[in-house]
Symmetry: C2
Subunit: 252 residues, 2 copies
């Protein structure tokens, strides 16, 4: 996908293309420092502003990131592989394992900013759960931090009439988490729907996930359905796109 060196293309774009090609060819690996403004000025015989723009293009694309005073570096991309279907298999939470532990593998996944509270459902949530508008739901929020970097925050909503006074209303939901508790309540999820979108973050989201410039977020909205067809959970997740590969494996 190397672009031709069209003469109509601005100089900074051509320099950015050359650097991108070198990164894709492995000449600069993850974490490597790219040539600085002075290097690019000398190599390409361009003004400082042109060199800066070229490096800016790669930062905007999320390929490189600036570190204050140190230069511009190829972004180290060691994404989490989130296996959408396997991680939610009944064998996982039914056996008392955490869904999230499947994503992280051997890496250290910490949970913070946990908040559990009962709220009035807004229209979006109540319609997804088939509840009358203004119905009470339990909202469980948390953030996941991998190797010190926030990678995801999420809020899941569950109907109060389903949850009752079970451990779902507690910070620690116990082995197998929310889904294992739902199953004990006779509302175990048998079907899931995940909807995936991507967009640029708001300032709040960028701060909460410590995103570098030019990094989109991925949004996943999952609805869990019980045997009866009833929606028993809606989970709204916001992911650092640079930290995740989503994988879905399925049969034809």
């Amino acid at each position: 996908m190397t672009s031709q060196g069209s003469t109509r293309q601005p100089k900074y774009q051509r320099i950015a293309d050359a650097l991108r090609t070198a990164i894709q060819a492995g000449e600069y690996g993850p974490g490597d420092r790219l040539p600085g403004e002075n290097d690019l000025m000398a190599t390409y015989e361009v003004a400082r502003m042109t060199a800066r723009q070229a490096l800016g293009v790669l930062q905007n694309e999320g390929i490189a990131e600036a570190r204050k005073g140190a230069g511009v570096f190829v972004r180290a991309f060691k994404p989490l592989r989130r296996r959408g279907i396997q991680r939610l298999a009944h064998e996982q939470w039914g056996a008392g394992r955490s869904i999230w532990s499947d994503d992280a593998g051997d890496r250290e996944l910490a949970v913070d900013q946990i908040e559990v509270r009962e709220v009035e459902a807004d229209n979006r949530i109540s319609s997804a759960l088939g509840l009358p508008s203004g119905a009470q739901v339990w909202a469980r929020s948390r953030r996941f931090v991998l190797d010190g970097k926030p990678v995801l925050f999420a809020t899941s909503y569950l109907p109060s009439d389903v949850v009752g006074d079970s451990a779902i209303t507690q910070v620690d939901t116990g082995p197998g988490g929310t889904y294992a508790r739902l199953a004990e309540l006779g509302h175990g999820p048998v079907h899931f729907r995940e909807e995936i979108r991507s967009r640029m973050p708001s300032a709040d989201e960028a701060e909460r996930l410590v995103l570098s410039m030019g990094t989109p977020v991925i949004q996943i909205v999952r609805t869990a359905f019980a045997e009866s067809g009833r929606g028993v959970e809606v989970n709204e997740m916001t992911l650092d796109s640079a930290s995740y590969v989503l994988e879905y494996d399925f049969d034809a």
Copy 2:
């Protein structure tokens, strides 16, 4: 997710927050014109630069887009719903239907920039298909245009020794497309893996998909596996994130 009007937040950010809240509440619908710089200057008693920055925030987030000389508008978001699993069901292509027709529903989906050629697989493709490096593969490229807007481009790679001289080497692969032909060749796909990433587009990609500023792309790499476990196709897709919702439906 309305942020509190912290006094430490810069003014333009607070104006952007107010506009975003109004959009989310439906006060400004898709395609509506937002207040202009002059309006914001009068309403919030700020300088032109501050008003401009506030509108810039919404454009960077992909919520709004500028139209030359006309102002800044709420982006019209009528995404395609791409049902990842159903669309690839054997009943779909096995019955001679196009996978893509499932995405578009009643809307007009045109295909252009079609290119079919035999090439040497690069390392990424050959390893995904379990081929020796440098093996020959057929590469099928195309772009999809919905209601006049390019929404996706893709290249799929299939091993030449599987494809032979079947219709897969032609622009028109016939009813049911590539997968129906693979089935006739004894290599029908029985399993799929889709890997999803998101990032900012390169200049080339932004041009090819006519992306407005602040719009990420979604990348999907699909591998199709035959009964033997062999990889028979790798399809690399690049999607306009503002045009798609990806949906995956599956059982626990």
